[in-house]
Amino acid sequence: MDSDHDVKGKCAAEASRRPGEGAPLDLETLREGLRAKRGPELWRSLDELAATPEFEDLLHREFPRQASEWPEGVSRRNFLQLAGASLALAGLTACTKQPIEKIVPYVRQPEQVIPGRPLFFATALTHAGYALGVLAESHLGRPTKIEGNPDHPASLGSTDAFRQAAILSLYDPSRSQTLSRNGRTATWSGFASDVNGALRARQPLGGDGLRILSGTVTSPTLEAQIKEILARFPKAHWHRWEPAGPHHERAAQVRAFGRPVEVRYDLSKADVVVAIDSELLTQGPGSVRASRDFGAKRRTPDMNRVYSVESGPTSTATVADHRLQLPPAEIEAFLAALAQAVGAAVSSGTGGELVTDPHVKQWVDAVAEDLKAHRGASVVAGGEQLSPAALVLVHAINGALGNVGATVTYTEPVEADPVDHVAELRNLTKDMADGKVDMLLLLGGVNPVYTAPADLDFAKALQKVELSIHHGLYEDETSRYCRWHIPAAHELEAWGDARAYDGTVSVIQPLIEPLFEGKSEIEVLATFNNRPDAAGYELVQAYWKTRLTGSFDTAWRQVLHDGLVANSQAAPVSVTVAGSAAQTAVTEIAAAVQQARARKDGVTLVFRPDPTIYDGRYAPNVWLQELPKPLTKLTWDNALVIGPKTAERLGLRVEETVELTVAGRKDLTLKTSAAVWILPGQAENTAVLTLGYGRAETAHGREDGGAGFNAYALRTSDALWSAPVEIRRIGERYPFACTQNHHALDPQGNETKLASEEAEQRHVVRQTTLAALRKDPEVIRKQGEKPAADESLYPAWKYPGHAWGMAIDLNICTGCNACVAACQAENNIPVVGKEQVLAGREMHWLRIDRYFQGDLDAPAIHHQPVPCMHCENAPCEVVCPVQATSHSDEGLNDMVYNRCVGTRYCSNNCPYKVRRFNFLRYSDRESPLAAMLYNPDVTVRMRGVMEKCSYCVQRIEQAKIEAKVEDAGAPEAGPHKIPVGKLQTACQQSCPTQAIVFGDINDPQWEVSQWKADSRNYGLLEELNTRPRTTYLAKVRNPNPRLEPPSDSKSDSTSELKSEMRTTHGHS
């Protein structure tokens, strides 16, 4: 018990020392204690003072559960004790949280807990409300890594970058750590009594003036709780605001079907995919699954055909066979014409043709023909940035093509009580401004002061609310206006539940006690239901007790084990587009198009959720901040992205600041500043500004909070996704940290052009068409020169045991960044900050190169993930003076950190430039939170040493050990066989399209061996005779002959001849 007290004392001291707090818990008690001690006795710290019995009493009163609290200054020994105890008990009872909270060292080693061997728990992580089933890796009670849950339909084992980075948010020291009331540290019981009093006062009024604002909610428990509150307080109201939610899509559904539904695409069955301004493979609740299906279909011999029509480059475009670049209004005209062409809508009756450009016309005809030829086996997907009318047409086209029920499924909405978020927020703001709201709960990190449309002026209205309660992971713009701030528990530290894109429910189980004083959403809501001390565990279990079939204990364990509730998908609904809806939509679009065409040179600003920090919620996450955006390769900032032609016309240069003005409704004029980035492939007269940046300085407790430019300042509730904008030059320079071609974008784009031409000349991204590949399977190999295997001074290595290799299919890489984030999490890769990225020193072991090809105004775009090539003839190995990088007997190019003296010769001599050097001390080797985050199987590198991709050597060794244990009885002969598929690298495991395979190339059973035997397989820069172990499968396009006539045999042979000539010439 003594040790128990000890920890408590420490916790309390920590609590009162935390930054940003005003007064300690009970100053009077402390002062009294001090007064008594006045004289020769000096007190040195609050710790000492806190050792008094009075203080301990106070703690017991205030924090009855304090023993489990996680102080930052905890010693290793205490940590192990705590971690051991909590995990041990959790393991014994099948992942349930234990009420016993005594701290005792192991007396007997608990089952399953073996130091050095991680445990995996099935849980779920949500993004914008929707769940993705994951497996969380836990080392002695510390979650360290997120993997996809192979049994979960939304994941199938893959994840996205957001989920990979979630682990960092858990240990983020800038998270809010204590409850606060009016900015001063407060207690949970204080909060509970405050809420209780307020509710009691409102009881007779039926809860008039009580409002709840949340983001998208899919949690059944949470929904039940809110409904319970609404039942008790009939006049209360539940509002929703999801800044980047499917607002237009929802409106379109209501227009088309008269009700909200959930749309699911099955890309595994779609022969033709038409993406209209849509990021269907990288954004949205089902994108991970969509990527998986897409990848599977595209890898088959009868690969699909993808068209992407868009205003600016999307991830879809990088894997599309055809890409058409149009301004937003013209996209809608295209869609209307397409609807007419496939018979989803009749002629608009406006007289003039919607599409006049012959090229676009040809596109309409070709796409329509292709779609009609694949009735029931095609998908037309529309992006949220389209108008509701256009999205109605998307549904109509899918309906007309007979895709509904085949490749397109409509189900009951997954969101609890789906409502029009914009209208809800508008109403709430109006009521607040009118003084009708006196108690507001902002639940789950919703941050409307920052994210609400600029015309609503939410901040001003919020000030009129008497009792406002903000609940979130961070103190943010909104929390500053609120009386209460309740720190939220991370999803890895609290119980909950949520639904995936298809409705499947997962129970979210914690892997660790809350590090700070975080409370989950359901625990906060429980205070409104008079159960302030109810643990999340009880609340979730209470909900499911009546809903799981069979014996509850068995069923509950099954749910926790599987990570999902079986057969809980949303029920399909049968809806058809209302007869006149499509027609009305076409007419509407026609009018809008005429109007837009009248504007001529006016620039349209398009808002998109940011590919790395989404709507701003991930802004504090430095992994995501430093993740290069898939197309611009910018880090730490968003930019006003425009095309080269528009830049030229407006006289804008890269990194130049401009003032953006959107003329809103009434007399409202919205302005913000931004800096320009020129992106080839951005349609003329359009600009993109992603959401989530430009937040108030230190918005989330970090100095770099204010990076980028605030798109929300230009966003109004009636123009959520695009608005006409005026651009005025300010002309200051704002440096952008770009990870590719640092500073190379000169105004004329010459440098970019040079880089893309050189990439083509050097056969960096090899490609062909499906027809050409069928005609000549060797077409890819002929594109480069491959030296003979024995062309080396040194004798070839022999690999009697394993030989590790990797292959990456460029044809299905969408550049989504999941692999990069997974690599960062797995390998303890440090973040270096904007300044260091600017200096060209980013540390990612795996990078995704992006190349443009062809006309810079409308280029083809390629992604190419580049890890270490693990060359057989590695140029780095020869030049290292101290043998810090050397060849393993399994073909790995090993990096020995503690032997490295840092000459950097290896990096200079690496043709692929995959080596990364710790120029400064990048890794946090001190803070205890960082220590908890690190993967214990991977060294944390010090400054002055080189590092690089190791093919996740720690996983290889783990698998070898396991294989050896399995083979324990077998005679000691050769290496122990690792079962096929038992070993995955972190990047491979996370990849949503499964574009990366890894394994033993000595064993033909492994998929990687089969990929390497493919005729598309080639090595990057293989003419250097480095003989890379990482190889690529060339891109194969499946063009529509109507849009791209196959090159006749004559021109084909000449181009072949040319490459032949180059080859022989280079050889001589």
Partner: protein, 472 residues
């Protein structure tokens, strides 16, 4: 070097290279007096000023090195893909400068070029100090400099040898051998002069100090015999080093596979470049020195002109090297080589390249004209330009090859930071500080060797046992 007017020039006493290597009127006594006076007279004011400035620069060097060790090499401008920057550029630059000293003292000695006698002592000192500066850079540029000794083969508990395939290990041997031999050569040459200074010193302190350095030299025939043998042997040892050191340094690049580095022309043209840069530095030092210490009688126009000629010759070799690189880039048909060559001329570092061509290729051409070749002022200017040019050459080789190599996705830019510049300029402070100390406390011209070439003592300086008659 025979030009058509050689014969005429030889007849004319005004022609500079007819100027004797020691001005007329000197006897062995005046030579000894004059050179010892530099050390033994009162310290001139300009010395304090010069030393003060050099010392401040040295402090700047120490300051930037301290910060470097504290923070890491990230304070420099190096990055991905340019992993080597100022440190390696400066290393090659300094070590190149050193070469002239060795060439003058060893090769010209063996070739019996008597004019070398006036300049070999301070040229050797220059070598030593340049190598000291150069040697620091490979240590400082390490990510973990405290582990530098891992590059050396020594028995250790880790059971690890260095990687003998790596040119950086060859560098360790080449540079350390070079530094050792240079030091020995310089010191052995100093011994008789230290004895002279010991004998001429009036103060007990200096008698002890110089006496200590003279290692009991009494000038006996046996001493002279041993001395001459040792000196010749060392000259023989040092001679191959003139060629080998920079050859090995050039391997640092030539062994790499980076286009722009991977070239067989590197060893000869690096050696020529080193001699080129070295003679430029000897000129930069000797021209002010002869004025400051009134040594025009010993370092005559003939010396300056000879050095100008060596510069012109080696400069042409270097320029030929540049052209060969371009020729072979074109002739190889290798796209990457061609791209790298074109990128040097047209890429973002084109002004560095044009600067290099001007400094190393164009500017020295004025040395064809005797008017410039015999003008200390113009020689000084050309030497300055050549020194800048040789630095630019290393910049172009190191940076432009790395900044755009194989994969366009990894292309980047490089620029030195203020710490790079402070370290570079600071290392000049180290060099100058050592040099100022040298000219103040040691005879900057070999006294005893000068005595052998004073007109009248002997027509030809001859070496070996018959030189015992040299007066004490």
């Amino acid at each position: 070097m025979a030009t058509p007017d050689d014969g005429a020039a030889l007849q004319s006493p005004e022609k500079p290279y007819k100027v004797p290597i020691v001005a007329p009127g000197h006897t062995t006594a005046t030579v000894t007096d004059k050179i010892s006076a530099v050390v033994q007279s009162r310290t001139p004011r300009w010395w304090f000023i010069g030393f003060g400035i050099s010392f401040l620069l040295l402090m700047m060097f120490l300051n930037s090195v301290t910060w470097l060790l504290w923070k890491g090499v990230g304070i420099w401008g190096i990055n991905q893909p340019v992993g080597w920057g100022f440190a390696i550029i400066n290393f090659v630059w300094w070590i190149g400068i050193g070469h002239a000293g060795t060439l003058i003292s060893a090769i010209l000695l063996l070739l019996r070029q008597e004019w070398r006698t006036s300049i070999n002592r301070f040229a050797e000192a220059m070598t030593l100090f340049a190598v000291s500066c150069a040697g620091l850079y490979p240590l400082l540029h390490l990510g973990r400099p405290w582990l530098f000794y891992w590059l050396m083969p020594y028995p250790n508990t880790m059971g690890m040898w260095p990687n003998f395939r790596s040119p950086l290990v060859w560098d360790v041997f080449a540079v350390s051998t070079y530094a050792t031999v240079s030091l020995l050569f310089w010191y052995v040459g100093l011994v008789p002069d230290l004895a002279t200074l010991r004998d001429r010193s009036r103060h007990r302190f200096w008698q002890v100090v110089y006496g200590f350095g003279a290692m009991g030299w009494r000038g006996s025939a046996k001493h002279w015999h041993n001395y001459e043998t040792a000196y010749l042997l060392l000259a023989g040892l040092a001679t191959p080093l003139v060629l080998s050191v920079h050859t090995v340094v050039s391997f640092d690049f030539a062994i790499g596979i980076i286009p722009g580095w991977h070239a067989t022309i590197f060893p000869p043209y690096f050696v020529a470049g080193a001699i080129y840069a070295g003679f430029a530095m000897v000129l930069l030092l000797s021209i002010p020195l002869r004025v400051a210490f009134n040594l025009e009688d010993f370092i005559t126009l003939r010396h300056l002109q000879n050095m100008g000629k060596v510069m012109l010759a080696t400069g042409m070799i270097v320029f030929y090297g540049y052209m060969t690189e371009f020729f072979f880039a074109w002739y190889s048909g290798n796209h990457l080589e061609q791209f790298t060559s074109m990128n040097r001329i047209l890429g973002p570092y084109k002004w560095h390249w044009f600067g290099l061509m001007f400094c190393n290729g164009v500017a020295p051409q004025i040395l064809w004209m005797r008017r410039f070749r015999t003008s200390p002022f113009w020689l000084f200017v050309v030497s300055l330009i050549v020194s800048v040019g040789m630095w630019l050459e290393r910049f172009v080789i190191v940076v432009t090859s790395l900044h755009r190599d194989f994969l366009p996705s990894s292309w980047g830019m490089y620029a030195g930071t203020k710490w790079d510049w402070m370290t570079f300029i600071g290392s000049m402070g180290l060099f100058l500080t050592l040099f100022f100390l040298f000219i103040r406390f040691l005879p900057l011209i070999s006294i005893f060797e000068m005595r052998t070439i004073v007109p009248g003592t002997k027509g030809e300086p001859s070496r070996g046992s018959e030189m015992t008659e040299v007066p004490q």
